[in-house]
């Protein structure tokens, strides 16, 4: 590697030090804001959250059927048109955003909380627990996501709650893998052995030293997991295994749009664009965060 000469004294920097200091986070922020694509991603994500939270409050009832206005193309009265039951597509998109946000954030939270806890513990203690536990993870990984979700939907029934459970559980192995790797790597560093020598309790070490140092890896993983879960929810709902009608979900909207593809193609267009923009936003945000947190990656 061509080495850009190192400036002065680097020993204060994160690599071997303890947690990232405030100044370091500010630097990450500055690097992040310098990237136009990352900022676009942030804007898309914020817009998505705003629509999900406030859209349904401001827009007409997404379930109000009006048989006088069936399958109407976009107009001033209905900006994105109406569907086969005369419902306002814009309202349904906003309401679907809420479902997507719930599915994305809740399932990722489940995966993060369980995955990080188990991953840190198994990576910290290693030993027989690690061996047994990783075998269990192997078994979980033996089920392709959609097969697992289909099976779960068949057992528990199709509903938003079960979709969130299926999405959350299926993401656990990946989070465990990351947390375990971080715990194993950070554990070996000097400041941790220092804390061990000082007689710190295991829990303190994991919570105060290892978890904060692994934070950036977890943040990046979350920005990958959320859009994955959003697509997952839409997919399951599209297959009829997720959110059930009349509740609005981008996936369900596309299921019904498929029947009217020739007459009303816009019905298939808008929910798809909504999904694409949302996941694109998260992906750009994730890329930007990864670059900002770990500048050597992009060399």
């Amino acid at each position: 590697m061509t080495s850009v000469p190192k400036t002065t004294n680097l020993s204060t920097f994160g690599a071997t030090g303890s947690r990232k200091s405030q100044a370091q986070w500010r630097r990450v922020m500055r690097r992040f804001l310098k990237r136009p694509l990352a900022v676009i991603g942030l804007v898309l994500v914020v817009a998505f959250i705003l629509v999900a939270v406030f859209g349904p409050l401001l827009l007409p009832d997404p379930n109000k059927q009006d048989f006088a206005t069936l399958l109407q193309p976009p107009s001033l009265a209905h900006l994105l048109g109406t569907d086969d039951l005369g419902r306002d597509v814009l309202s349904r998109i906003a309401s679907g955003a809420r479902v997507s946000l719930l599915a994305g954030v809740l399932s990722t939270t489940i995966a993060m909380v369980i995955g990080i806890t188990l991953g840190l513990i198994t990576g910290f203690y290693r030993g027989w627990f690690d061996v047994v536990f990783m075998r269990i993870i192997d078994v979980m990984l033996a089920f392709p996501f959609l097969i697992f979700a289909v099976g779960l939907a068949a057992i528990l029934g199709a509903s938003l709650t079960n979709v969130i459970i299926a999405l959350g559980v299926s993401q656990i192995p990946e989070v465990v893998r990351i947390a375990r790797g971080e715990a194993m790597a950070i554990r070996e560093q000097e400041f941790v052995s220092g804390a061990v020598a000082d007689g710190a309790r295991d829990f303190t070490i994991m919570a105060r030293y290892i978890a904060p140092n692994a934070a950036s890896a977890f943040i990046v993983q979350a920005t990958v997991a959320i859009p994955g879960a959003i697509i997952g929810e839409a997919t399951l709902s599209f297959l009829g295994l997720g959110v059930q009608p009349p509740m609005a979900s981008w996936g369900i909207m596309l299921t019904s749009a498929q029947q009217f593809l020739a007459q009303a193609p816009y019905l298939a267009l808008f929910p798809g664009i909504a999904i694409a923009l949302t996941t694109l936003g998260f992906n750009l945000l994730g890329d930007g965060l990864r670059d900002a947190l770990d500048p050597k990656e992009k060399r």
Binding site: A153, A234, N283
Partner: protein
């Protein structure tokens, strides 16, 4: 190398064994009494009892499990509740269709993904790179089922050049088969190619800044040679990504078959859930999991083969 493969085979077998238990227990947790399902809604208790006796449903669960697995190993996965056709027969009929779809998709994904990844890494920071990177991002963000709908809208409805559905077997009509497969395979392949493109680009960029590439440069070789040095070491990433994407590919195949009405394995599973045809569901999931674990094993072996450090191990380092 041999030791590594042996080790991976053993863990795969253990994983499969444990996974089959999970599938079996999962099947038991499906709503409804299997005996009731077999006998029909209005069967009398005596008949139910007879059925339980006949199918061993009143035996301890582990006995039932070993009975099921024992039969499964000899190719007997039970019979479909709807038409009494053996599950194994139905699976064997559906599986090749999905394999064709997935094979074509992987081929398309590899060709587009690796080409785009290599070009964008080599032409880093140029217009070509931005286009390829943009394609990667969009491809990653667009769900395959929406892409499928758009493809049908454009190619089948608007331009009417390719069929939206209507699968024909390859043996009956090879051209018709491929015409029917091209849209779904491309839709499925594009998602894969987006991931492959991004990973190939990242891996190649990483390798291009490696010390050994500078060494190659110091020998006076052309840029093309430099890239091939780096590419050789990026192939392991491609194989790894392909392995990791298999799960997504299986999911994508299920959805794509649903959209394009292809009577493959995925559609079979979705239909089985809707029809509560549990023997089919159980058999299909078991086969899918087995196939998935086996392919992952193959990927690991390929990885080891591509990495000389592992290929030759047995001594130094």
């Amino acid at each position: 190398m041999t030791r590594f493969i042996l080790q991976r085979v053993i863990t795969s077998v253990i994983t499969l064994f444990l996974a089959s238990i999970v599938v079996f227990i999962g099947a038991r947790m499906l709503p409804g009494d299997p005996a009731q399902v077999l006998a029909g809604e209005s069967a009398d208790p005596a008949l139910l009892e007879a059925i339980r006796e006949q199918f061993g449903l009143n035996q301890p669960i582990w006995v039932q499990y070993f009975t099921y697995i024992g039969q499964a190993l000899t190719g007997n996965l039970g019979v479909s509740t709807r038409d009494n056709i053996p599950v194994a027969e139905i699976l064997l009929q559906r599986l090749p269709i999905t394999l064709e779809l997935a094979g074509l998709a992987i081929l398309i994904g590899l060709v587009i993904g690796i080409t785009a990844g290599v070009v964008s890494a080599v032409k880093r920071g140029t217009f070509v790179d931005y286009v390829a990177t943009g394609f990667g991002l969009v491809g990653l963000s667009v769900p395959s089922f929406w892409l499928g709908l758009l493809a049908i809208l454009l190619f089948a409805i608007t331009w009417q050049v390719l069929p939206a559905s209507g699968f024909v077997g390859f043996a009956e009509d090879p051209i018709g088969n491929l015409r029917g497969m091209i849209l779904p395979a491309t839709v499925l392949g594009i998602g894969l190619s987006a991931v492959l493109m991004r990973q190939t680009r990242a891996a190649l960029l990483g390798q291009l800044s490696a010390d050994y590439v500078r060494t190659a440069r110091s020998k006076g070789v052309t840029r093309g040679r430099e890239v091939s040095h780096a590419l050789r070491n990026s192939l392991t990433t491609v194989v790894t990504v392909l392995g990791l994407q298999l799960g997504a590919l299986i999911g994508g195949a299920i959805v794509t078959e649903q959209i394009f009405v292809i009577p493959g394995f995925g559609k079979l599973i979705i239909d089985a859930v809707a029809a509560r045809n549990y023997p089919i569901l159980q058999g299909a999931v078991l086969v899918a999991v087995t196939g998935y674990v086996l392919v992952n094993l193959l990927v690991d072996v390929a990885y080891a083969y591509l990495n000389p450090r592992m290929r030759l191990s047995g001594g130094s380092e």
